[in-house]
């Protein structure tokens, strides 16, 4: 194990992240010696924030596969996230719409089954949209995901086009979504849910790392390097991009389901175009072509947002609205101009050059991707 860890930075990273998650979770749930993150960080980082980071990490890992490796922008990723959340919400909190008996709708395994159904639905939708479009070149996928994202957001907001609010709850959304359980063991107080979310997050990171380091992943990097060259050596570009899109949609849907059971309520706002853009910013910060960048990108933006909200409210008193978006924009532009690989990747690279981080030749195409 130690030998293998020495050889593989990804395994090392995985063990490190798992240990970090475990320690943070234990500390936060037991609070030894009155040690409390919320107090230490001035209310900035709480269990709640850490769960959110875990959930968004899952979305972002999928998005990075799509944007960084397959080179396709998705401007509608929040829609797949929303599909997971809404399907989970509707089918667990409003299962009577399906005329399900309470014996099924109220059982502990039903929300888990719904979660899988939602993932299948999101993946299927991504497949249907992506298959014809990805055979075309250029930015067509970005346009299609943008359209899809806004359409799905409006469908949520407008009760799928029906009158009333009996399905999606229109503007107000759905409340009273049950918590997740295994048998009679409820995964609820925040500390338990934290471990569940991060279990899935680390699982998704592991899956993504394995994809990236497999034959498929090498093909992805080949596409990213040069589509024409990849095509010339027999890589089925459209098929691979489609697979990346489907995987990213499935990840996003899983995260959405986890979000719905975490909040116990869903409303249309977090799944709109602005959220899709926020995901792109997070991805750019962490480094698009970097699976490990995902948790860093999410953490960076979420903490920055909390900080800015506090600061700006002081600075611009009387002004309403979400002022932090201006910083997102500036941040995105600056990063894309000066650090197109993302802050994390760029910093690691500088550290390595300065001799701080692990020595050895820089491995890109031939070695393991990071």
């Amino acid at each position: 194990m130690i030998e293998r860890m020495k050889a593989s930075p990804n395994l090392r990273g995985g063990v490190l992240l798992s240990a970090l998650v475990l320690v943070l979770g234990m500390v936060e749930s037991t609070k030894p010696f009155g040690f409390d993150f919320a107090d230490l960080s001035g209310g900035l980082v709480t269990m709640d924030t850490m769960i959110r980071i875990g959930i968004l990490t899952i979305v972002l890992v999928g998005l990075n596969l799509l944007m960084g490796y397959a080179g396709q922008i998705s401007l509608g990723q929040a829609a797949f996230y929303g599909i997971g959340a809404y399907i989970s919400a509707i089918l667990t909190a409003r299962f009577h719409l399906l005329r399900l008996p309470p014996a099924i709708g109220g059982s502990w395994w039903w929300p888990w089954l719904v979660m899988v159904l939602a993932m299948a639905f999101a993946g299927g939708l991504a497949y249907l949209i992506g298959r014809p479009i990805l055979t075309l070149r250029g930015h067509y996928l970005a346009m299609a995901t943008l359209g899809l994202g806004i359409m799905i957001f409006i469908l949520f907001r407008e009760n799928l086009g029906f009158a009333g609010d009996h399905i999606t709850g229109a503007f107000d959304g759905i409340t009273a979504i049950p918590r997740l359980r295994v048998g009679s063991f409820e995964l609820w107080p925040l500390s338990r849910y934290y471990f569940l979310v991060w279990f899935f997050a680390i699982l998704c990171i592991a899956i993504a790392i394995n994809i990236v380091n497999s034959r498929v992943g090498r093909a992805f990097r080949a596409i990213h390097g040069s589509e024409k060259a990849a095509l010339a050596v027999g890589v089925d570009i459209a098929q691979l991009k489609l697979q990346a899109l489907v995987v990213s949609a499935i990840f996003a849907s899983l995260a959405g389901s986890l979000y719905a059971h975490f909040q116990a309520a869903v409303s249309p706002t977090p799944f709109g175009f602005a959220s899709s853009l926020e995901l792109v910013v997070m991805s750019a910060v962490g480094g698009m072509a970097s699976i490990w960048g995902a948790p860093f990108g999410v953490t960076f933006i979420l903490v920055l947002r909390e900080m800015l909200r506090g600061q700006l409210r002081e600075l611009l008193r009387g002004a309403s609205g979400e002022h932090e978006i201006i910083f997102y924009g500036l941040l995105l532009v600056l990063i894309m101009i000066f650090m197109p690989q993302g802050i994390v990747v760029e910093l690691m690279e500088r550290l390595r050059r300065a001799g701080w981080a692990s020595q050895g030749p820089r491995r890109t195409l031939k070695g393991e991707a990071r």
Partner: protein, 339 residues
């Protein structure tokens, strides 16, 4: 569709789709007992909105043709045009209403154009060697930053701009065979027609226009002929900003401009540009008009809140069946134009 039709009908597939679409619109309209007047009203309202989309779409086309970038900051130009005009109009109270509005409009267009030029130099030019993906994300960042700045400058409250005819908030309405039209609609149509004429003159008769066209056809070739592609990129962004601002200013009296009006208008303009194939001005105009009419008809017979959904549904349908625009022949591609 072709699979289910005899061969002699294949040329008419588009028309058959349109007929089916119109039939379903009329069928849905039956629920509310709509007569021809209502449909006419929907169409005229859609035509007004569509003209604005066409103006914005032309900005997308200009930038895409010259640089190969989809400029998502286009919506921000629309918002800036409207907001700057409103601000100047509200503050220059020493002038009588008519010259004041004129000054405000000129200031709105010039100001937005300057912002567009500045944006190109500050964010696009430093990254000009990056991939189109990076550049597109940069324009997304530009959009977010401009909208954020607008939020700080103007807050979230809605503003008003007087109608061009009456110079008051209340606009004159004209009744034509039962259809109610606002006088502002004619200003919108007139402005767009004028812009088209000016653009036509610019591209056919001026050196800069010809250089822009050369860049659109082949960037490398243009460069070899001594055209500065980077300067043309600057010109394209300035033009796109001006087109967006004009769209925002003429539409301002019919809506209440806010800091976030650019998002939906920009995206609709983008849909219109895609419908036109992203490289053609007539295509963009036709796309805009069709988009406006279809979304308004569809929303009219179903639910008003679904209007934007139909617009993006149209986007996806066009991408699936006519990825190179409604005007392009099926086999024709624009890929040769892309780097």
């Amino acid at each position: 569709m072709n699979r289910f039709l005899p061969p002699w009908l294949h040329r008419w597939t588009g028309l058959i789709w349109l007929a089916l679409l119109l039939a379903s619109v009329v069928l849905l309209g039956q629920r509310s007992q709509y007569g021809p007047t209502q449909y006419m009203q929907f169409t005229m309202d859609g035509l007004r909105a569509g003209t604005i989309y066409a103006l914005i779409a032309m900005g997308f086309v200009t930038v895409f043709n010259v640089t190969g970038i989809i400029n998502f900051a286009q919506g921000a130009f629309v918002m800036l045009g409207a907001m700057l005009t409103v601000t100047v109009n509200n503050s220059a109270t020493f002038l009588p209403p008519a010259p004041r509005l004129l000054l405000a409009i000129v200031a709105g267009i010039v100001g937005t154009t300057l912002i567009g030029l500045l944006l190109e130099r500050m964010t696009i030019y430093p990254a000009r060697h990056a991939s189109p993906l990076t550049l597109i994300i940069i324009t997304v960042g530009d959009f977010i930053a401009l909208q954020g700045l607008a939020l700080i400058a103007w807050t979230a409250k809605p503003y008003t701009l007087p109608a061009f005819t009456t110079l008051q908030i209340a606009d004159k309405t004209i009744r034509l065979a039962g259809v109610v039209l606002k006088a502002q609609s004619f200003w919108i149509w007139g402005t767009t027609a004028l812009v088209l004429l000016v653009l036509g003159y610019f591209f056919e008769r001026t050196m800069t226009g010809k250089a822009l066209r050369a860049c659109a056809i082949n960037r490398l070739g243009a460069r070899l002929m001594g055209i500065s592609v980077s300067r043309m990129s600057l010109v394209a962004f300035g033009m796109a900003a001006a087109l967006g601002a004009i769209g925002g200013i003429v539409v301002a009296p019919t809506t209440r401009p806010t800091y976030d009006m650019g998002l939906v208008l920009g995206l609709k303009g983008f849909v219109a540009a895609i419908m036109g194939g992203l490289v053609s001005y007539p295509g963009a105009v036709l796309g805009g008009l069709l988009l406006g009419i279809l979304e308004n008809l569809a929303a009219g017979v179903t639910k008003a809140g679904l209007k934007d959904m139909f617009a993006f549904l149209l986007l996806i349908i066009v991408l699936l069946y006519r990825p190179h625009g409604i005007l392009a022949a099926r086999q024709e591609t624009v890929e040769a134009r892309q780097p």
